[in-house]
């Protein structure tokens, strides 16, 4: 299985929010409270054990290995056939209204079958989903429609980069296939990029375990304050999202 992933290089990020705005523009995400697929949290300035830090958490769905949002979906399951665009191979799975794609690793929603119950939103430890209550599938008694980052698959299928990647002014977002050794994403992981892990829930920056100075800040991050705390260990976050820790930062 191919797994799409995104590196966010925090050393490059200046917290300009262009990613969040580009995403909202591309997918016409309404501006109501909590409605977002893509966000920037501004963290600090605050003291950490490595000195003062002021950094940003540009976030989106992690397209987890074992997504907490998928098994909680109460929609009736249907048989869905997935096709690998490269090999033409197909695979049929019983899926509810949300699933993890067996060929590209992304977590997707069938919005036409979503009940808008909010179970997936509540299950996500990152606050990556919201339920748009301005729309609903009334024919099935829906109360809203869940929405989240699709890794811009409709764009990627056309050969484009995700909107947030294309717009990033400092090229801090790098998108590609995690398990393709030739990808830039894989190169970052070899250099020491780390997965996003929920180490703590706090509104101030925490340092990465082996980060050596204050430029190497911050992979472990807050959750949005409105979310319930989840235990990281139970979730098996494989997350496609890795945050560069720069353990292997080159120095002349």
């Amino acid at each position: 299985m191919k797994q799409y992933g995104m590196i966010i290089n925090l050393d490059r990020c200046v917290g300009c929010h262009a990613c969040a705005v580009a995403c909202r523009a591309e997918w016409q995400v309404p501006t109501r409270e909590g409605y977002r697929r893509n966000w920037v949290h501004r963290l600090g300035p605050a003291n950490t054990s490595h000195g003062m830090s002021f950094t940003f958490y540009p976030g989106l769905c992690n397209h987890c290995d074992s997504p907490a949002c998928v098994p909680v979906c109460p929609a009736d399951t249907v048989a869905k056939t997935f096709t690998d665009p490269e090999t033409g191979k197909t695979r049929t799975m019983e899926v509810a209204a949300t699933w993890k794609d067996p060929f590209n690793g992304t977590v997707q929603i069938d919005q036409s079958r979503c009940l808008g119950c909010g179970a997936c939103r509540d299950a996500c430890p990152y606050g990556a989903r919201y339920v748009n209550t301005e729309v609903a599938n009334e024919d099935i008694g829906g109360e809203g429609i869940a929405d989240k980052c699709t890794f811009c698959m409709p764009r990627v299928e056309k050969g484009l980069a995700p909107a947030c990647v294309q717009t990033c002014i400092t090229d801090a977002r790098i998108f590609g296939v995690v398990n393709d050794p030739k990808s830039e994403v894989a190169a970052y992981i070899r250099k020491g990029a780390r997965r996003l892990e929920l180490l703590d829930r706090t509104s101030t920056p925490q340092e990465m375990p082996e980060a050596a100075d204050r430029r190497r800040m911050l992979a472990s991050l807050m959750q949005p304050a409105m979310r319930r705390v989840k235990t990281a260990g139970l979730l098996g976050l494989a997350g496609a999202m890795a945050v560069q820790g720069l353990a292997g930062e080159e120095d002349e």
Binding site: D11, R12, V14, G15, C16, H17, A20, V21, R24, A25, T31, V40, G44, P45, A46, N47, M52, S53, F54, T55, I169, T170, D171, A172, R214, R215, M217, E250, D251, E252
Partner: protein
């Protein structure tokens, strides 16, 4: 910056100040391994990426710079060959700065000597690939601003960082065709030439090269001197938000007979205008050819992607039709496209050819100079470490440190900067941008907040030294600002109810700026010479004095009512 091996930013907050190509260069430099020193009373985004952050006492930057210059000279950290061949005035400089020791500067600037030394050594080690960027919005204290900027340039020259990669580079001029907007002055409506010109007869000896001093215009409206001004036309500037001391500006606007503006936003200035000419937004209009003369010279043209909505018209159309109705002939081009075509002739392009090549063409750059080819645009062709033209005007030929007054007891200095998602005061009402950052926050030192009992996110009001009060603003409690200063991003706190989202959200820094000094060289207005205290629940709270002020720095005293 991408080629620098070390960078120095003094109060420049690139990263929050989103000048896109500059931010890209800055990040490229850091990714290439450049060291970064940030001097700022605040822990900015740039400070968060710095190797050394010096949280300097506001108003003492020139003291640090002069002590560094002295240190570089006395410790032989300067480029002797460059100074010998390409600088004049070195001996005078050496003598002038000899009194500025690191010990003295440490006390004045409230910094540790070890940190100051580490920073200057770090910069010196990278020379000549040292980038000392002056930043933007850098008129802070009036009197000393030009000297402060010159001290950056002097240090740059001592490092030999001129005409070399990573240092100051030479522009690569783009030879656009020259088009006169109006061919000849109308004989029907001949302007009355006043005996005294605001621009030419300014009290500031070097201002006329840059235009008319804004504060002079406001003063002239309010005093009627040197001549009365009865009408104002304003093009795309919200003067009430952008010019310090909006109370004087508002007084001036009220006294006029007629104001018209060309605008896209119903900001304060627009709603005070008699007539608003609706401007086309950037997606609806052509602008003149944009030519960039930096490291990657290029030519491009802003072009409409949609027709203007409603009654909006392009600036060129508006100007031309105003002229027509005033019976002023002489516009040289029928429309913008013809104007652009003439400009593009200079680089042998037509608009359709430019568009065929993607809408942007790059040109060769010539930014660097070999030592034997290095010639500056000065009489001697060298770097003037000492400027005689300044001496002729009774201004310091070599920068001196003259302290700006420290905050009065119970007050903190107000510092302002930019929000990364917003542009001046013009985007706060944009649905998407407002949604990202709807209001500014008052950065307040955590120790000060603790002593005052103010919690993070609590809403306070500011009162400045002249008793002017701000809109309510939320507090960001942080160790990332010195106790003797508070900070907020500019452009918020709109007073225009027609900006339905932005109205009343956050506080406007400009409305706290009633005490301004103009620099004696060009008349640039100081923007860090105002002091505020906090009003919580209607009660004034005195900012505790956590940073003792040395005797050399006077405190500002508040005139008692």
């Amino acid at each position: 910056m991408a080629n620098a091996r070390a960078m120095l930013l003094v109060g420049s907050h690139i990263g929050e100040n989103i000048h896109v190509s500059h931010v890209r260069e800055f990040i490229a430099g850091l990714q290439n391994g450049a060291k970064l020193v940030v001097v700022d009373p605040r822990f900015s985004t740039a400070a968060g990426k710095a190797d050394i952050h010096l949280a300097i006492r506001p108003g003492t930057d020139t003291a640090l710079m002069l002590a560094w210059i002295n240190y570089v000279i006395t410790h032989n950290l300067y480029d002797r060959k460059f100074v010998a061949n390409h600088c004049q005035g070195f001996d005078a400089l050496k003598k002038e700065v000899s009194g500025y020791s690191m010990e003295w500067a440490a006390r004045i600037c409230d910094l540790r000597i070890e940190d100051m030394k580490a920073a200057i050594e770090l910069l010196a080690k990278a020379s000549p690939q040292v980038n000392i960027h002056p930043g933007r919005h850098s008129t802070w204290y009036g009197r000393g601003d030009v000297g402060r900027h010159r001290s950056y340039a002097i240090l740059t020259a001592l490092f030999g960082a001129i005409g070399v990669p990573g240092g100051i580079y030479f522009p690569s001029p783009v030879p656009l065709g020259h088009v006169e907007c109006v061919a000849e002055k109308s004989e029907k409506v001949a302007p009355i030439e006043p005996e005294v010109s605001l621009r030419e007869d300014s009290a500031y000896p070097f201002s006329s090269n840059f235009g008319t001093v804004t504060a002079d215009i406001i003063r002239a409206i309010n005093t009627g001197k040197p001549y009365p001004i009865r009408l104002l036309g304003i093009n795309g500037v919200n003067v009430i938000q952008t010019i310090p001391d909006p109370y004087e500006t508002m007084k001036a606007l009220k006294s006029l007979d007629f104001i018209f503006c060309e605008e896209i936003m119903a900001g304060e200035t627009a709603i005070w205008s008699d007539i608003i000419l609706p401007d086309a937004v950037y997606l609806e209009r052509y602008d003149g050819v944009y030519a960039y003369d930096g490291l990657t010279p290029y030519v491009t043209v802003r072009q409409p992607v949609v027709e203007p909505l409603f009654e909006a018209r392009s600036p060129y159309w508006i100007a031309k039709n105003l002229a027509k109705r005033l019976d002023i002939p002489g516009f040289t081009c029928p429309d913008e496209r013809a104007f652009i075509a003439k400009e593009l002739e200079g680089v042998d392009y037509s608009l359709s050819q430019l568009n065929k090549e993607g809408g942007l063409v790059t040109l060769p750059a010539d930014p660097y100079r070999k030592p034997d080819k290095l010639k500056l645009d000065t009489a001697s062709g060298k770097v003037n470490l000492q400027v005689e033209d300044f001496e002729d005007e009774d201004l310091d030929p070599i920068p001196k440190f003259e302290p700006t007054p420290a905050p009065p007891k119970g007050y903190a200095r107000l510092i302002y900067g930019r929000s990364p998602v917003h542009t001046f005061s013009r985007t706060m009402n944009n649905l998407w941008l407002h949604n990202e950052i709807p209001e500014n926050k008052l950065w307040l030192n955590d120790r000060v907040a603790r002593q005052l009992g103010i919690k993070d996110n609590e809403v306070v009001v500011l009162e400045n030294q002249d008793g002017k009060r701000s809109n309510p603003v939320r507090v960001l409690v942080t160790p990332g600002i010195r106790p003797d200063a508070v900070y907020m991003a500019h452009g918020f706190g709109s007073k225009s109810p027609l900006l339905s989202r932005a109205h009343g959200k956050g506080a406007a820094d400009g409305f706290m700026m009633t005490r301004n000094e103009e620099d004696p060289f060009m008349g640039a207005t100081s923007k860090r010479t105002n002091f505020v205290r906090i009003i919580l629940g209607g009660k004034p709270l005195a900012i505790p004095d956590l940073c003792p002020v040395p005797d050399e720095i006077p405190r500002y005293t508040i005139k008692s009512a």
